[in-house]
């Protein structure tokens, strides 16, 4: 049996590449990625790794280094914005797992995020006259913020697994509306509509994340401290999701998405796979919700509405369906774009920064651009930013032979 395989050329997958590739074994080398032949693998393990080329590894390391540097150079405000990017990326990955990978369009993400935020607030928030709170450590409330929504996802899944396509989309939309009603009514937990409550206390292993710390002679603002924590959580969750998608479950997700009857005949349990997708996605949503309200500063029942769900659909559609890196790009886009627009507003004509004058307000411009970009992206590049990135990459790889 062959121990080595050579992947066909990285461009368009159609047609046959060089076959066999048995010669690879003569070259030895334990790990894949021999110099000069980055696509040659000498073991299945190396072939299946996430960072399977030296270029990918170098890029990733450089990126991580830059991300770790940023809070030292950016303002607190921008640091917070980037923290929001990580949180949106976590939520986006969760939605991409169920909608992108498993093909179950969910408009209910906001509901699960809300559940996460309130679970966190119950376990980690402070009790007041009007709301309950246990004041526990983040090491407890953060996992709980994922587990409880996951459990609710598990409960909802049997019904959700029965309905398909756009029926499911609207069913999950129902969750958002019913959830909002429950959030408004469960006053001892949520504070009620128009009032809300303070989020969980970010105290991790006894360290107060809202304080400032000296690190290597630098002073970290509270925004920076929280930034690092969110980044760490994000990295762990992104890698876990990536692992999931290259495992048998990832393939099962895709199979259920593309042809569910055939998948079942292959031995994939539809019920189990959909349930799993729902549960895991809700876990990610819960974590994202719990972290997001820490950036906002308050949990309110009306926050978890259809528009939040739509933001996350935009994350995965603009970023790229069924890719983890796409979810991250999409999150960056959705979070940073409005800010960019407001920075640019001064130079765009007809846009007013003061109310009541000008053709459109900055916010209206942001919203409109957001809507228009969703349309433009889906029309021009159905694979989203990730697809764009692949195109750019292929262009440079083919250089100087590109036309």
């Amino acid at each position: 049996m062959t121990g080595t395989t050579t992947a066909p050329e990285r461009g368009r997958p159609a047609g046959g590449g060089p076959s066999g590739g048995r010669s690879g074994s003569f070259l030895g080398g334990r790990r894949g990625g021999l110099r000069g032949r980055p696509m040659l693998y000498t073991s299945y393990g190396a072939d299946q790794a996430i960072w399977n080329t030296p270029a990918k590894r170098a890029w990733t390391l450089a990126l991580v280094a830059v991300v770790l540097m940023l809070p030292f150079v950016l303002s607190r405000d921008l640091t917070s914005l980037l923290t929001t990017v990580f949180i949106f990326a976590i939520g986006g990955i969760g939605l991409n797992l169920i909608t992108g990978y498993a093909g179950q369009v969910s408009l209910g993400h906001a509901f699960f995020m809300g559940l996460g935020a309130y679970t966190a607030a119950i376990f980690g928030g402070e009790a007041t006259d009007s709301v309950v709170g246990l004041g526990l450590d983040m090491a407890i409330w953060l996992p709980m913020a994922g587990i409880v929504p996951a459990a609710v996802g598990l409960l909802v899944a049997p019904l959700a697994a029965r309905v398909r396509g756009l029926y499911l989309a609207i069913l999950t939309l129902g969750l958002v509306f019913i959830g909002e009603h429950i959030f408004k009514e469960a006053r001892s937990i949520t504070g009620g509509a128009g009032v809300g409550r303070a989020p969980a206390e970010p105290v991790l292993f006894g360290l107060d994340l809202r304080a400032r710390y000296h690190v290597f002679g630098h002073i970290l603002s509270r925004e920076a401290v929280f930034y690092f924590v969110c980044f760490a959580i994000f990295v762990v969750m992104a890698i876990a999701a990536r692992n999931l998608t290259r495992s048998k479950l990832g393939r099962a997700f895709a199979a259920v998405r593309d042809r569910d009857v055939a998948a079942a005949v292959m031995g994939v349990s539809l019920q189990r796979t959909k349930t799993l997708a729902f549960t895991i996605s809700s876990f990610y949503a819960g974590i994202a919700g719990a972290l997001l309200v820490l950036v906002i500063g308050r949990v309110t029942p009306t926050n978890w509405n259809l528009f939040l769900s739509i933001d996350f659909l935009a994350v995965i559609l603009i970023g790229g369906i069924a890719t983890i890196s796409g979810s991250i790009l999409g999150a960056a886009f959705v979070v940073l774009m409005p800010r960019l627009v407001s920075e640019l507003a001064d130079v765009v004509p007809f846009i007013s920064t003061s109310p009541g004058s000008g053709f459109l307000s900055v916010f209206q411009l942001q919203t409109m651009l957001f809507g228009a970009l969703i349309v433009v992206f889906l029309v021009l590049e159905p694979r989203g930013l990730y697809g764009l990135w692949i195109r750019v990459r292929n262009y440079w790889k083919a250089w100087p032979f590109s036309h």
Binding site: T99, V105, L159, R162, V163, R164, G165, L166, Y167, A169, I170, L171, L173, G174, F177, I178, H181, K184, E185, V261, A262, V265, L306, I310, L313, A314, L317, I321, F359, L360, Q364, T367, M368, F370, G371, A372, L373, I374, V375, L378, V379, P382
Partner: protein, 299 residues
């Protein structure tokens, strides 16, 4: 008893028939193009606005204003389809649905900009007037809603079932390529579906905009009620949209009349979620709604 009829049944049928109107718009686009049109709420509120402009600012007679507004919105629908949806033909329905979300966002901003922060009135002749039906006092506007919606839906239904264009539209919805091969101009059918649906939305917008305090742009979100309606009725069934719209309207009205008194523990404004609760219950028993066709699962 009269409360039951005037605040429960008639009000419910009134609002329910506007839901049905909106739902039929959703169904027409869904059947022709396989897409759920999330831009419908924005089209609806633009319809209310245009009616208001014609009837109150321009000052033409109200019925003409309504027809003119429907025509304007039909053009908006046509244009939207041509610009944003046509390129999505043959792509994932979910992606196309997301495009309509993008369109919604854009049109909603436009509606906000046009309507402004102040409230407007559509200039309808009914106001808060009441009339007597079989000795029971009911609001004229409720009767108007029922009659106008049902006439409009009936006309559209007849068109789809009987006319050659109707047949071609249905064919388009089943298989675009084959429809093309029969000489059906598929693009034109898509445009037609959007135009009809937008005109119905405009009509619904006018009816919903008759609220005593006038309307503002955010009232558009009321159109989302049509989503549980089309699920209960079945995404591809016009008949279902009508029955479910009326049923949900009445259920909602009865809930708001009696729930605060008899089941206060369900919380304030429980009627808002009633359509969704009904939808979930229906889906438990019928995953394709009451009248929807089951997707054929043949291998």
């Amino acid at each position: 008893m009269s409360e039951l009829i005037s605040l429960g049944l008639i009000r419910g049928l009134g609002i329910g028939s506007t839901y049905a109107l909106l739902a039929v718009g959703f169904v027409i686009i869904y059947r022709a193009t396989g897409v759920i049109n999330f831009a419908q709420p924005a089209l609806m509120i633009l319809g209310a606005y245009v009616t208001s402009v014609f009837a109150t600012s321009v000052g033409i007679p109200f019925p003409l204003a309504v027809i003119a507004a429907m025509a304007v919105l039909a053009l908006v629908g046509l244009a939207t389809e041509r610009v944003a949806l046509r390129p999505m033909v043959g792509k994932l329905p979910f992606a196309a649905a997301m495009v309509t979300v993008g369109v919604f966002i854009v049109l909603f901003v436009v509606a906000h900009r046009l309507i402004g922060a102040q409230v407007r009135t559509v200039g309808d002749p009914w106001g808060l007037e009441r009339m007597s039906v079989f000795g029971i006092g009911v609001a004229q506007v409720d009767v108007a809603k029922i009659v106008i919606s049902m006439v409009a839906i009936g006309a559209v239904g007849l068109f789809l079932a009987r006319s050659r264009l109707g047949l071609a539209m249905r064919a388009t919805s089943m298989d675009q390529e084959v429809a093309l091969a029969q000489g059906v101009n598929v693009g034109r059918m898509f445009g037609l579906a959007w135009a009809i649906s937008a005109a119905l939305a405009a009509l619904a917008g006018m009816l919903i905009g008759t609220a005593a305090g006038g309307f503002d742009a955010v009232l558009a979100l009321v159109a989302l009620k049509a989503l549980p309606v089309i699920i209960v009725g079945g995404l591809d069934s016009i008949k279902g949209a009508v029955y479910a719209g009326l049923f949900i309207g009445v259920a909602e009205a009865l809930t708001r009349t009696y729930q605060p008194q008899y089941a206060p523990w369900l919380g304030a404004n429980f009627d808002v979620v009633v359509p969704y609760v009904i939808m979930i219950v229906v889906l438990v028993f019928r995953p394709y709604g009451l009248f929807g066709t089951r997707e054929v699962e043949r291998v």
